[in-house]
């Protein structure tokens, strides 16, 4: 029983850790995309004001 539960927990924790990593990367990308969008909008509005 102990051997099987160890194997099961090892697989479970490894998958959980990798999915957490993917989730973190997903959030980082979303923040980067939003920051970039804000930067582009700022540049566009400053260009419009200049013209």
């Amino acid at each position: 029983m102990l051997t099987f539960m160890t194997a099961y927990l090892v697989v479970w924790f490894a998958l959980f850790a990798y999915m957490l990593r993917l989730g973190g990367e997903q959030r980082r990308l979303r923040r980067a995309a939003e920051a970039l969008q804000a930067q582009f909008e700022k540049q566009r509005s400053s260009r419009q004001r200049a013209t």
Binding site: M1, T3, F4, T6, A7, Y8, V10, V11, A14, L15, Y18, M19, L22, E25, Q26, L29, R30, A32, A33, L36, Q39, F40, Q43
Partner: protein, 225 residues
């Protein structure tokens, strides 16, 4: 919540729900459907996890080698994104194969590790995966990084047929194809299919992340120029 944010929210949760459903189905089949094996008892059920991750470890290496070859042929980083995603998933699966195999070996053979041909070739495969990860992490230039990863993937590909055929070509103690009763075969099939779908989803998600990260870097460079 804006419309885009709402779409992202539901996309993310749909991914997680489907992924969790796959793993739950496999685990439920292993716990509830699989009959108890007489000699090894519950420890025999490790086989269902072990075979599923081992198959994905091999399949990911083949995918990595093919997409690496395509990168070398086309010099397009989009192929390298596939290769890198396969490398990460494959390394995870190969590590889990060695860990679950070692636990099974302790229950079946009373040893954690032995230099059996199948175990040795699987260990070489894991070393190849690790070498590709380490080499890639030390290089900044994306094309140079992709080239180095591709070379390791193509050289390492030579080990894949050896892993598959090791139990037939060489004498060892690893079972060739375990004798199973029909219910056990069904559970093994469910487990392999569910884990394959689960890892395929992770692979697609990781590839799209790598692709988006590259696009964002390009856009950032354009914004700063």
């Amino acid at each position: 919540m804006s419309q885009t944010a709402e779409k992202h929210f539901f996309n993310d949760y749909l991914w997680h729900a489907v992924a969790a459903g796959m793993v739950t189905t496999a685990i439920a089949a292993i716990f509830l459907l699989a009959p108890m094996e007489e000699t090894m008892g519950i420890a025999q059920r490790i086989v269902y996890l072990h075979v599923s991750v081992a198959w994905m470890g091999l399949a990911a290496f083949v995918l990595m080698a093919i997409t690496s070859g395509m990168y070398l042929f086309r010099r397009d980083l989009a192929w390298d994104h596939w290769s890198r995603a396969a490398l990460e998933i494959g390394w995870l699966c190969c590590s889990l194969t060695l860990a679950t195999g070692s636990l099974w070996a302790h229950a079946a053979w009373n040893t954690w590790w032995t230099w059996d041909p199948r175990l040795t070739t699987a260990f070489v495969l894991w070393a190849m995966y690790s070498a590709a990860l380490v080499l890639r992490s030390g290089v900044e230039d994306p094309h140079r990084r992709a080239r180095m990863g591709a070379i390791v993937a193509i050289v390492g590909m030579l080990d894949v047929p050896l892993v598959i055929m090791a139990t037939r070509w060489f004498r060892g103690i690893h079972p060739k194809s375990p004798h199973m009763e029909p219910t056990m075969r069904v559970v093994l099939l469910i487990s392999v299919v569910c884990f394959t779908l689960f890892f395929t989803m992770l692979l697609l998600l990781r590839r799209s992340q790598l692709h988006i990260a590259d696009m964002l870097e390009d856009l950032q460079a354009q914004a700063e120029a």
